[in-house]
């Protein structure tokens, strides 16, 4: 290293800076904060609130399923209305069309 370059390295702007004391406290605070944020584990799924949500979901799904199973489709509704009317059975028989 030549002398000119050594002179450059003595420049005032290169003197080491002191580290602000507050940084470590901030680091520790962040680490503790992140520790307190718990990740959802498998066991946590059996908490009352999650079970309640699951029961409500199953209930709603089951009820809607039952409702649609017991509700007549438009074709079935049409046929049932024909049966209720005075139309004779042979008139609504689809076989008679052929």
């Amino acid at each position: 290293m030549d002398k000119e370059y050594e002179k450059i390295l003595q420049d005032a702007s290169l003197t080491p800076r002191e580290v602000p004391a507050a940084i470590y406290n901030r680091v520790v605070a962040t680490i503790n904060e992140r520790k307190n944020v718990r990740h959802l584990g498998f066991k946590d799924l059996f908490q009352v609130k999650y079970l309640a949500v699951a029961i409500v979901f199953v209930g709603v799904f089951g009820a809607s399923n039952l409702y649609f199973q017991n509700t007549l489709s438009s074709e079935e509704l049409y046929v049932s209305q024909l049966y209720l009317s005075d139309t004779s059975d042979y008139m609504i028989s689809f076989d008679s069309l052929y």
Binding site: M1, E4, Y5, I8, L9, D11, A12, S13, L14, P16, R17, E18, V19, P20, A22, I23, Y24, R26, V27, V28, T30, I31, R34
Partner: protein
């Protein structure tokens, strides 16, 4: 700081006292590297915070083949590089919005009343600037620099020689212009 296996085990297990000891042993080196890369005290403080949080969270990934000091330096250098990249991208985006922001960008440029070398160094290409910071200012060995920058020792040597020449030229130019 000596590489103590017991200390490393305690650090890996998340012992706060050991972490504090590692922090106090390494903080000055890491802070000065970060500051010389950013030239911004506030930014350096934020980066220091992020780096040590990262160090704590990734403590189990540390392998004692490298001294912990240089492992932390590596994290610091990479994190600072990412921050500087994001910052320059952000500046470009702002500049693209319009010239009204030009004044704001110009005002962000630092004013160094003490010494001229650091401002000159800041204008140099990163690949020449970093070896100078690590070798000539922070006095790391070639092997350590190669580890921190993830390059070969030969590359460190050649970049350092080239960087020194560039720095010397720029310094002479600056001195000549100052009269």
């Amino acid at each position: 700081m000596e590489q103590n296996l017991e200390l490393i085990q305690l650090f890996k297990s998340g012992d706060h006292k050991t972490f504090e000891q590692i922090y106090s042993d390494t903080k000055k080196l890491v802070y000065n590297i970060v500051y010389k890369m950013t030239l911004d005290v506030e930014e350096s403080n934020d980066i220091m915070h992020d780096v040590y949080v990262k160090v704590y969270e990734n403590r189990t990934k540390y392998k004692p083949m490298v001294a912990i000091k240089y492992w932390i330096c590596k994290i610091a250098v990479n994190h600072t590089k990412n921050i500087l990249k994001q910052k320059s991208r952000h500046k470009k985006n702002i500049a693209a919005v319009g010239f009204f922001y030009h004044k704001q960008i110009v005002s962000e440029e630092k004013d160094f009343s003490d010494g001229i070398v650091l401002p000159i160094l800041s204008k140099m290409n990163e690949k020449y600037k970093l070896p100078i910071i690590l070798k000539d200012i922070e006095e790391l060995s070639y092997i350590e620099i190669a580890e921190v920058l993830n390059i070969k020792i030969g590359t460190v040597r050649s970049r350092l020689n080239r960087g020194r020449k560039i720095l010397l030229e720029l310094y002479k130019k600056k001195e000549a212009s100052n009269g």
